[in-house]
Amino acid sequence: MTTHSNNHYYVPHGALYPVTISAGLLALASGFIFSVATDTNKDLAYLQTPGKWMMYIGAAIIILMTFKWLSAVVIESITGQYKQWEDKSFRIGMIAFICSELAFFAAFFGALFYMRIISVPDLAAFDPLFTPYKDFLGTWPSAGPGGVVLGTEYTPGKLTPMGAWGLPAINTALLLTSGATITWAHWGLLKDNRKQLILGLFLTVALGTAFLICQAFEYYEAYTHMGLTMGSGAYGATFFMLTGFHGFHVTLGTIMLIVILLRSMKGHFSAKNHFGFEGVAWYWHFVDVVWLGLFIFVYWL
């Protein structure tokens, strides 16, 4: 059944990168926990500084090792270890990975729908005689009715929701265009037109960066002028978690695009053999699609 041009499957030699990354993750996670331990237990405030250092060290290890690991893969690729059979593995793997990412975003979209359709209206739908939330209307966007949270009083601030047709619309245009430019770059690669490939990638990186700058500006506006923060109840939580995780993925995608751009300038990739390029392009399209969902359900409707 499996059809492959060659019949040797490349099993890479062992390496210490995975174990080291795991150790880095352990340091990052426990460091983070120590650094915020004072939130739940004031006696643990002394752990804050050592925790931070553990985090930095962990993060440094992860970044360094990821970089080394991927360079090893790039070297294996340009020395011709990967043929069609391995290439197909990478493709299927990438698709499965993107599916898992979609499921991750689905959790947050699920939370958004649940709060909008179920929990916020329900809080306003108590019998008026008994409701603890007298003036709560249950309309969206909502920062919730307020009340006591873990012993401290929470009063929802007045928030202005993020309108769809200002910056977000521009951001949509930026990302959609970047989807087109990367496809254009791909066409260039397929035609062995390196200029078009490099120019297309460069434009994509520029558009991605512009998107990130716009989003940083939007967050700044939200916090300083609109009273919209992560603590702004249902709307604030879903807004920042969804756009935040998306922004994080755009950042990763942009870094990967830069790597691919540099590799293209070095002459890597050929019309036949360019999984590295395609993997990043797929990832970029995935980020694009998630953004459309965000634009429609978080900003617009």
Binding site: G144, L150, Y154, G233, M241
Partner: protein
Amino acid sequence: MSTTTVAHHDEHTDHPTGIMRWLTTTNHKDIGTMYLTFSLIMFLVGGSMILGIRAELFQPGLQLMNPDFFNQLIGVHALIMIFAALMPAATGFANWMIPLQIGAPDMALPRLNNWGFWLLPPSAILLTLPFTLALFGIGDGALATGWTFYPPLSIQGGIGVDFAIFAVHLLGISSVLGSINIIVTLFNMRAPGMTFMKMPMFAWGWLITAFLLIATIPVLAGAVTMLLTDRHFGTHFFDAAGGGDPIMFQHLFWFFGHPEVYILLLPVWGFIPQILQTFSRKPMYGYKAQVYSLIAIGAMSIIVWAHHFFTAGMPVPALLYFMYSTMAISLPLAVLFFCWIKTMWRGSMSFETPMLFTVGWIILFGIGGLTGLVLADVAADAQYHNSYFVVAHFHYTLFAGGIMGIMAGVYYWLPKMTGHMYNEKLGQLHFWLTAISFNLTFIPQFFLGLAGMPRRIPDYALQFAEFNMISSIAAFVLGLSQLIFVYNIISTVRGGKKATDQVWEGAEGLEWTLSSPPPYHSFSEQPTVK
């Protein structure tokens, strides 16, 4: 199709030795061995924790520990057993056996495979570290919420909750990597001629498991991330004051949690029929029916989650929907049971240890499934929810259905993996001790639950004393019998009667065509399947 040659990886046969071999390995057998060893160790760790619980429950009143520590032991026991014992055991078998069964040179993404394993020890450290830290006066121990993390308790808890959240994150990454690897291997590495409908059942079970993991583990990751931000960054996902809802967490958690119970069992449903056909010496009955049932169960498992919190309050139509859809899962499950029994029907059966475990498994897991149907009844569940009846139900599915299934697999494949036969007498002794003490541990818990004893409470009313005493004594016998298992495995790895290539008279499939133990690189030549 002609035989395809897969060249030797001579340059890699001289792999590093000692600790470096295990840290760096990309070999599917080495990685499988690490998964299985890790699983066995964590099984003992999680087991000793729960013996502490049973000791406390031996008598009414508080004797050994304070309630908070009691709850911590329960939660960490469950997380360890599910994520660090049962799941790694299934993944270990997948790594060892899938390439052998489908005639592949190795797993498709070997380095990621290595990472998938090496994420587990850090997660085990994260899970258990809070206990140690508490000894040094840092924090107040592990999470005390049970394995389900329900808010608001999990939002009020101390650093133990944070450690568990990150442990779940790492375990999640590991499972997703493992799943990606298995999906790719099954799609891309099958021997020429092996169509999907000729794939061994174990591979099918794992393929569906892998899809379920990819669909649900990220949702769990999202849910615990929301917990984390509620705890430290001021969001209100699970707090009514901000428009959130603690019950939303239950939805997110069980959207993962219910498929998870099938994730734990689908691999077992894969190799059980293979063991049955070997020891009944006739081909498995209803291959296609089994494959379609596995797919149906996998698909349906994603749409029934709310049966875990019927009593939390939801509209009546929702209750009805979740009740009937849950009950409907038992239909494809019944098809599987029928096929398993029909495979044995009129076979020339023999009862070596793997077969003993398998037959015992069918009966005990059957009890687990039937009691599940009882719980799925909304009206009845109002009485049984959060009682010891639920505890008994899921131990019949998870200990009998999961762990005892895995044990059948261990006895079945150990001779192939080590090249030595295990001690048959000790194996049978292990089976009988396990089966009897398991039932003595958990049957009383059904009665306790029906009589109203709640779970996760360290003290109980006097009328529950006798059954709890029986259950505790039997639990210690059950725990100690596992030492026989450990001893048997270790002595088999060390030496023993040589195993033949086929090992079992009735064994069929590609893995039995290789030598026992198989060469370091499995199929230097991909076989052709007709």
